[in-house]
């Protein structure tokens, strides 16, 4: 079925169709529609899921931890300040290896308060042990939410689905949906009941661990994160076989013979493709790649995508304080010997429009080493 819905509605629908048992959430713009829509499903009896109304995001994630430890398929959503308030519990979820799925609708962080798209929130928790999958539109947000449950439950790692505030969350788009049956065949009817709290088979979760074991438990997480890349790839492939919609870890557009490449994340990719077409019509060899699988960082795939370019502009939607921004740093660490330039655009929802992208390509062509795009002096 094809529905005209926003990115937020697409995520809520996907979560409902994935047969989640528990949603614990607190509303925050621009994520609100997700949990609002989900609470509507609950009120209308369209799902048997339990909706837990909590007093903060810290509690939302804590309730998710409890539900997931008991074996519930668990979902929540947040943005910006909400993610900041969850920060502590994000590490608890990943450390306890709980397959929680969360949509984070990317929004700038205060201060100054701003509700618009910016990647500073999810980037601030990039090392919290969560898988992070970035989306470019509502269709992908729907698809990725479904795949996220399969990936999380197979790897026992929590998964964050990232979509840009307003640009994706509030923009109506035709979204091709799957039937409940197709989805449940794909991800399984319910969570596998391994490693959960069970009165018949008592276990202790989250006990104190001293220096003699902490490193080993972190090594397990590190290894699980590294190995999750294979699971993510396989899940993307199986989903592609089911729907025809194929998602690579790193997606590229006209990069094969490109002299200058823009490497980005999120909704900017769509605009960049248009700019690439325009510039190609003028005879300029440019291309664009975007990182879908940010954690674990798809470094080899990024390298493969951009290795033949004369120069690559790595564009972050994060204000860097005292160092380079995160996507650039990850790329730099994976792409030794490639000519990389760091760019920052689109802070606090400033439009990343065709001119913004064009400006990045112009600077790459001219070799201008200037990080900030579209900021007044």
């Amino acid at each position: 079925m094809i529905l005209g819905i926003s990115g937020d509605e697409a995520v809520a629908l996907a979560a409902k169709q994935c047969n989640v048992d528990v949603v614990a959430a607190y509303p925050i713009t621009p994520q609100t529609i997700i949990v609002e829509k989900f609470s509507e499903y609950v009120a209308n009896g369209e799902t048997q899921a339990e909706y837990v109304r909590v007093e903060s995001e810290h509690s939302a994630m804590s309730a998710c931890v409890g539900a997931s430890a008991r074996g519930a398929r668990t979902f929540t959503a947040t943005s910006s300040q909400g993610l900041m308030l969850m920060h502590e519990i994000l590490y608890v979820a990943s450390g306890m290896r709980l397959p929680i799925v969360m949509a984070n609708v990317n929004r700038a962080i205060s201060s100054p308060i701003n509700i618009h798209a910016d990647h500073a929130d999810s980037m601030a928790v990039r090392d919290s042990g969560w898988i992070q999958l970035s989306c470019v539109d509502a269709q992908e947000a729907y698809d990725t939410t479904i795949m996220a449950f399969k990936i999380a439950e197979e790897t026992l790692l929590p998964v964050m689905v990232l979509l840009d505030g307003f640009v994706i969350s509030h923009t109506l788009q035709n979204v091709s949906t799957l039937s409940d049956e197709q989805i449940l065949n794909f991800i399984g009817n319910e969570r596998k009941s391994e490693n959960i709290l069970d009165p018949e088979n008592p276990k202790t979760f989250g006990a104190m661990v001293l220096p003699d074991y902490y490193s080993e438990i972190k090594m397990q997480q590190i290894e699980a994160m590294d190995e999750s890349k294979k699971v993510i790839e396989n899940t993307f492939k199986e989903f592609g076989d089911l729907t025809g919609r194929r998602y690579p870890l790193v997606e590229s557009y006209k990069t094969d013979d490109a002299e200058h490449i823009l490497l980005c994340m999120g909704s900017a990719f769509g605009t960049a493709k248009v700019v690439v077409d325009d510039m190609r019509a003028e005879g300029k060899k440019v291309g664009v790649s975007r990182v879908k699988c940010y954690r674990p960082f798809a470094g080899n795939e990024v390298r493969e995508a951009i290795k033949n370019a004369k120069s690559v502009g790595v564009a972050d939607r994060v204000a860097p304080f005292g160092s380079y921004p995160p996507l650039y740093l990850d790329t730099k660490a994976s792409c030794d010997g490639i000519n990389l330039k760091s760019f920052v655009y689109g802070l606090g929802g400033r439009d990343v429009n065709k001119d913004t992208i064009k400006e990045v390509f112009d600077r790459l062509e001219k070799g201008v080493d200037e990080m900030f795009v579209g900021v007044r002096e």
């Binding site: 290896r97 490693n195 276990k203 979760f205 003699d212 074991y213």
Partner: protein, 92 residues
């Protein structure tokens, strides 16, 4: 008692506990150990009640300290109404 600690490939995921605290020795943390003077001790069992680590047992009409788990906090010595427990520095 487990002497060899498991490696990360052998342990359950997520820090789920796989051995009991009985198998996990905390006695090595101690800098001073409680020593009971049986002559002064009246077997009132105040020490048994106060021990936060359940490291004091009463067997065969004697106070027995479980030195594998006693962390040497000294609460038993402090609370003993007969001053029958001395804290003695551990040898290095």
């Amino acid at each position: 008692m487990n002497t060899k600690k498991k490696g990360y490939k052998e342990m359950p995921a997520g820090g789920v506990t796989y051995e009991t605290s009985l198998d996990y020795e905390t006695g090595t943390w101690r800098s001073e150990k409680p020593v009971v003077n049986d002559e002064k001790c009246t077997r009132c069992l105040e020490c048994y009640i106060y021990c936060p680590d359940a490291s004091i047992k009463y067997e065969d009409d004697k106070i027995i300290i479980d030195y594998s788990h006693c962390k040497g906090c000294g609460i038993c010595a402090k609370e003993c109404p007969q001053d029958a427990i001395d804290m003695v520095e551990e040898e290095k």
